[in-house]
């Protein structure tokens, strides 16, 4: 039978158009509570060799998911922030101190999220916000450490992030932090697991494409902690890293491990210039 080539050509054209609609981040602009403008697109930092423009993960989500983040009342991540505000003012531990005892109002932490992970001179290493929270709890409050990816910890990081929203991410990668940063970069480009995938394979080479039903983002972490619709709770950066590495069918590093700290610094530096967004909403 002779096939008429015309309908097939038409079908192919439709497929191409259908694919193209999902090939790039969308053009939507993010404003929270009708007043706080968020930068979701910026020129890539100089150290990135293969990407020209960086996009927040928000730009890769559906309109419905995007809308949930545009109003704090709708954003379920703010439930975690509320919980953390109670902890912020609660005295704990042998010193009878609360966060607010030293730091004052939570708003005093504005700008902190934007520069972490950061070199800690006293400890002689790069530290994350979670480590600083536990450092405060142990040495200043005399309280028990929180689990690195536990609910109270992630809520507290969400609170500290929420007061920095709109500020540009600006982690330092030079000076004493450079060694850790380079280790993180190495991890980013190292293939892991039975699927032999590196972070870059999906989030640098293939962002904008569909990985089965999911629209691949650049894997930016400016929106963390992130409220995920799939598990209806706030997720920390290291918990997300763990999920990603697990999906390559590899044994994962542990949250709080030196590897993930280095990776967090490197991935954060890939978002230098985007706004702090946490707690964001993703699928």
């Amino acid at each position: 039978m002779q096939l008429d080539p015309k309908p097939i050509g038409l079908l192919a054209a439709i497929c191409v158009v259908g694919g193209a609609a999902w090939a790039e981040p969308d053009e939507d602009q993010l404003t929270i509570n009708d007043e706080l403008a968020i930068v979701t697109e910026a020129a890539a930092p100089a150290h990135m060799e293969y990407v020209n423009t960086i996009y927040s993960g928000w730009r890769f989500r559906s309109d419905e998911t995007q809308a949930v983040q545009m109003d704090d009342f709708d954003n379920p991540g703010m439930l975690g922030v509320e919980n953390a505000l109670v902890n912020w003012d609660t005295a704990e531990g042998s010193a009878g101190q609360s966060c607010s005892g030293c730091h004052g109002a939570a708003e005093e932490m504005a700008g902190v999220r934007a520069v972490y992970p950061k070199w800690n001179e006293e400890k002689g290493m790069v530290t994350t916000l979670e480590m600083e929270v536990n450092n405060c709890r142990e040495t200043r409050m005399g309280a028990e450490k929180w689990k690195y990816t536990g609910g109270d910890m992630t809520d507290m990081v969400a609170l500290i992030s929420s007061v920095s929203r709109g500020m540009p991410v600006s982690v330092a990668i030079d000076g004493p932090a450079q060694e850790t940063w380079e280790k993180g970069k190495e991890l980013y480009y190292t293939r892991t697991g039975q699927l032999e995938l590196s972070c870059a394979n999906c989030h640098e080479d293939s962002y904008g494409q569909m990985i089965r039903a999911d629209h691949l983002s650049q894997g930016q972490i400016n929106g963390f902690p992130t409220y995920r619709l799939k598990n209806t709770k706030l997720n920390s950066v290291h918990a997300r890293f763990k999920g990603c590495v697990r999906d390559t069918r590899a044994e994962t590093f542990s949250p709080g491990s030196p590897e993930f700290i280095a990776l967090e610094l490197y991935v954060a530096s890939r978002g230098n210039g985007l706004s702090v967004e946490g707690p964001s909403v993703r699928n």
Binding site: F73, D74, P76, L79, E82, T232
Partner: protein, 109 residues
């Protein structure tokens, strides 16, 4: 009482008579469906908010039946006409018999 339940509502402080206003409500609740099993294979008992109502000055505005498939932290957004100054009263009914209530005043502008 189920733990961590806290109702929240967002109602404009004032409106002109006859205005249609948008109301948002959110209650933090785990909404356990009753269809999941724990690590030992036992069914986790159902525990959800099963009904939500809103009243304005005693008159019903909305009355919702919630089913187990509704996700955690149920959120409602709806519109209401404001004929006069008064009070919106919101009520959530929990499976365990608890009733959570909150109210918001609205003035005429």
């Amino acid at each position: 009482m189920a733990s961590g339940v806290k109702p929240r509502v967002k109602v404009p402080k004032s409106a002109a008579a006859g205005d249609i206003i948008t109301i948002k409500t959110l209650i933090s609740h785990k909404m356990e469906s009753g269809q999941r099993k724990d690590d030992d294979g036992n069914i986790i008992p159902r525990s959800i908010i099963n009904r939500f109502t809103a009243e304005f000055n005693g008159q019903n505005v909305i009355d919702v039946v919630l089913e187990p498939a509704i996700s955690t932290n149920p959120f409602f957004e709806f519109e209401a006409v404001v004929p006069e100054a008064g009070e919106f009263k919101f009520t959530w009914y929990d499976d365990d018999g608890d009733v959570y209530e909150t109210a918001k005043q609205i003035a005429l502008s």
